[in-house]
C-alpha cells in the first residue's frame, strides 16, 4: 500500500522533481550549446539557471516550513541536500554554457567529445494552424519530416524535455538541431 503523506509534502515532491529534471535538461542543452556553438541555447541554459535558483529557494523554504516531525528531520535534511546537489548540477551546466556566452571558440576537441556534427540550431513557435499542434512528439514525426531533432520545448517559463509522449501545444517554442536545410521545413511545419 502506498503510504499517505500530508498535502504540504506534495508540493515538495513536485518541486524537487522539477529541480532534478531541469538540472539534467540544462546539462544536455549546455553541451549542445558547445557542440553547436549556439548562443541561443547557452542563453536558454542561463535562463533556466535563474529559474532553478528561484525554484530552489522556494523548495528549501517549503521544506523548512513543512512541519515535519522530529523523527523526520534527518530525512528532510536528505531532501534539502538532494536539492542542493541538483542546484550544483544546474550551476555546472551554466558554467559550460558560459564558454559560449563569453565568446570563447570551443576547442575542436570539445566538439569531438560531444560528437562532431555540422548542425545548426533553430527556434520556432508552433502556431494554432500548425499540423504539429496538439500532437504528441512521436506522432509529429519531426525528424522524419524535416531532419531536425527537438532538443527542448519551451512552454512559458518551463523547459520541457522532448519525450515522445509529450503533446505539442500552440504557442510552444521548439528548440531543434539539424542540418541547415531542415530549418525552413521545420518553420513551415510549425508556423504555416
Amino acid at each position: 500500500m502506498p503510504q499517505q503523506y500530508p498535502v504540504e509534502f506534495e508540493k515538495i515532491v513536485e518541486q524537487l522533481a522539477e529541480l532534478k529534471n531541469t538540472s539534467e535538461l540544462m546539462m544536455d542543452l549546455a553541451y549542445s550549446s558547445i557542440l553547436l556553438n549556439s548562443t541561443e541555447l547557452a542563453e536558454e541554459v542561463q535562463r533556466l539557471e535563474e529559474y532553478v535558483d528561484r525554484l530552489h529557494t522556494e523548495f528549501e523554504l517549503r521544506v523548512l516550513t513543512s512541519k515535519f516531525t522530529n523523527e523526520e528531520s534527518k530525512g528532510f535534511l536528505g531532501l534539502i541536500r538532494l536539492g542542493v546537489a541538483a542546484e550544483k548540477i544546474a550551476d555546472s551546466a551554466a558554467q559550460i554554457s558560459e564558454v559560449i556566452l563569453r565568446g570563447l571558440e570551443p576547442h575542436p576537441i570539445l566538439k569531438l567529445v560531444i560528437k562532431e556534427a555540422e548542425e545548426t540550431i533553430t527556434q520556432v513557435r508552433v502556431t494554432k494552424k500548425s499540423k504539429l499542434a496538439n500532437k504528441t512528439l512521436r506522432d509529429a514525426q519531426i525528424p522524419e519530416e524535416t531532419g531536425m531533432w527537438v532538443l527542448a520545448i519551451r512552454r512559458g517559463e518551463k523547459c520541457i524535455r522532448p519525450k515522445p509522449e509529450i503533446v505539442i501545444e500552440p504557442g510552444d517554442i521548439l528548440i531543434a538541431s539539424g542540418y541547415a536545410e531542415g530549418v525552413e521545413d521545420l518553420k513551415k511545419l510549425a508556423a504555416p
Partner: protein
C-alpha cells in the same frame, strides 16, 4: 586525514580525458540518485570511488592543458576545455554529495520514492529471476536502448556492483539491475526481468 593518491603526468589524449570525465560524471548522477532512492550504501560508496577517479582525471587534464598552450590563441581555446573539465568535475562532486547522504546515514525521507515517480527519467531496480527472458544474454544482444529505451547502469552481483557494465557482460540469475529509462520502458523492462514462469508475460 584524507589519503590522497599520488599524481603524475600520463601521456593520454585530452580527448580521452574529457570524454571519460563527461561520461563518468553523467553516470555518477544517475548512480547517486539510485543510491538515494534505494538507500544502497554499497552503490553510494562506488559513486564516491568514481569521484576519486574524476579528481584524478581533472588533475591530468590540468597538466595537459598547461603543456598544450603555446600562445595566447591556444590559451583562449583551451580555456573552454578547462572550464568544461571543471564543470564535469563539479557535476561529479554533486553526485558524490548525494552519495554522501546515504554513506553518512542521513538518509532521505521516504517521500523520495514519490519524487522519482514524478521525474522524466526513471531509475528502477530489478531482480533477475530464473525464468527471466534475459538470463544468459549478453547486454548488447538485448538491444535495450532501441527496443525499450532503457539502459543498464549497474549490475549487482555477489554483493558488489559492476558499474556501467560492458556490452558483452552476461546477465545472470539473481543479478540486481539498476536501469534508467522512460516510465513505460522501465516498467516493461521490470516485467521482462522479473518474469516468473506462471505470470504468463510473453
Amino acid at each position: 586525514m584524507r589519503n590522497l593518491e599520488k599524481i603524475e603526468y600520463q601521456p593520454i589524449s585530452v580527448r580521452e580525458i574529457v570524454l571519460e570525465m563527461k561520461n563518468l560524471s553523467e553516470l555518477m548522477i544517475d548512480l547517486a540518485y539510485s543510491a538515494a532512492l534505494f538507500n544502497d550504501k554499497e552503490l553510494a560508496e562506488d559513486v564516491i570511488d568514481l569521484e576519486k577517479r574524476i579528481d584524478h582525471l581533472a588533475l591530468l587534464l590540468e597538466m595537459h592543458i598547461m603543456i598544450a598552450a603555446r600562445d595566447p590563441e591556444d590559451a583562449e581555446s583551451l580555456l573552454a576545455v578547462s572550464r568544461i573539465g571543471s564543470a564535469a568535475d563539479k557535476i561529479s562532486d554533486a553526485a558524490a554529495d548525494i552519495a554522501a547522504i546515504v554513506v553518512h546515514d542521513i538518509g532521505v525521507h521516504p517521500i523520495v520514492t514519490k519524487i522519482f515517480e514524478n521525474v522524466e527519467e526513471r531509475l528502477i531496480r530489478a531482480k533477475v529471476t530464473k525464468d527471466s527472458l534475459i538470463v544468459g544474454k549478453k547486454i548488447h544482444e538485448l538491444d535495450l536502448a532501441a527496443k525499450m529505451g532503457v539502459d543498464i547502469l549497474a549490475i549487482g552481483r555477489n554483493k558488489e556492483w559492476i558499474i556501467n557494465p560492458e556490452e558483452y557482460e552476461i546477465i545472470k540469475e539473481g543479478d540486481t539491475l539498476i536501469v534508467r529509462g522512460s516510465s513505460l520502458g522501465t516498467k516493461r523492462f521490470k516485467e521482462t526481468t522479473e518474469k516468473s514462469q506462471n505470470s504468463g508475460v510473453k
